[in-house]
């Protein structure tokens, strides 16, 4: 069975400092991994996705994530946080062998950015 664990429920950083949101996954098959962001009262927006191509994935708004199979991790990073990055971030896994493609979500990490 697939699962996702986000290691921090809340992360607080200062504006201009790096962001690291941690995610570990468990999957019996070749996983497809995603990071989605949810701003207050908004829907879920895709930040980036990994689908077995390059292990370092670049997304929108300067975010990137690295797929590390040996560590079963897919951590999200950004070199310099901006106030507008404050939101809830979800690490998500999907089974590439499942044509229906349901997504399995982590618990979410709330990112706060201090001025």
């Amino acid at each position: 069975a697939q699962s996702v664990t986000q290691l921090d429920s809340h992360v607080s950083v200062s504006e201009g400092t790096p962001v690291l949101l941690r995610c570990n996954y468990s999957s019996s098959y070749s996983p497809s991994l995603f990071w989605y962001v949810q701003h207050p009262n908004k829907g879920l927006q895709l930040l980036l996705k990994y689908t077995s191509a390059a292990t370092l994935v670049k997304g929108i708004n300067g975010f990137e994530a690295e797929f590390k199979k040996s560590e079963t991790s897919f951590h999200l990073t950004k070199p310099s946080a901006h106030m507008s990055d404050a939101a809830e971030y979800f690490c998500v896994v999907s089974d590439l062998n499942n044509q229906g493609g349901k997504l399995i979500f982590g618990q979410g990490t709330e990112l706060s950015v201090k001025p």
Binding site: S32, F34, Y36, K42, G43, L44, Q45, L46, K49, T51, F90, L96, N97, N98, Q99, G100, G101, K102, L103, I104, F105, G106, Q107, G108
Partner: protein
């Protein structure tokens, strides 16, 4: 840019009443999904729908739930007799096709059952 839309944005209903949540997926998409997020909990998969039939459903998706694509544009989730524990944010999502494609989410419908 095309987007998934959902109506209503908020709905309040009495326990035992039927509700229908509506979604308009992106027009050339073929796979459709409903997820829900109970306040303070993770987003959970409910059901996937392809080629006019359910392709997968979770344990949550019991006989009280049903989905329908009544025409070429709408995708609906019906809860026949709502319970207090159905209170949640319900998200619709769609994707073009295939395993590698991204699911695009709507803004959600917040359902409150009293």
């Amino acid at each position: 840019e095309p987007e998934v839309t959902q109506t209503p944005s908020h709905q309040v209903t009495q326990m035992g009443q039927e509700v229908i949540l509506r979604c308009v997926p992106i027009s050339n998409h073929l796979y459709f999904y409903w997820y829900r997020q109970i306040l303070g909990q993770k987003v959970e998969f409910l059901v996937s729908f392809y080629n006019n039939e359910i392709s997968e459903k979770s344990e949550i998706f019991d006989d009280q739930f049903s989905v329908e694509r009544p025409d070429g544009s709408n995708f609906t989730l019906k809860i026949r007799s709502t319970k207090l524990e159905d209170s949640a944010m319900y998200f619709c999502a769609s994707k073009v096709s295939g395993t590698w494609e991204t699911q695009y989410f709507g803004p959600g419908t917040r359902l409150l059952v009293l």
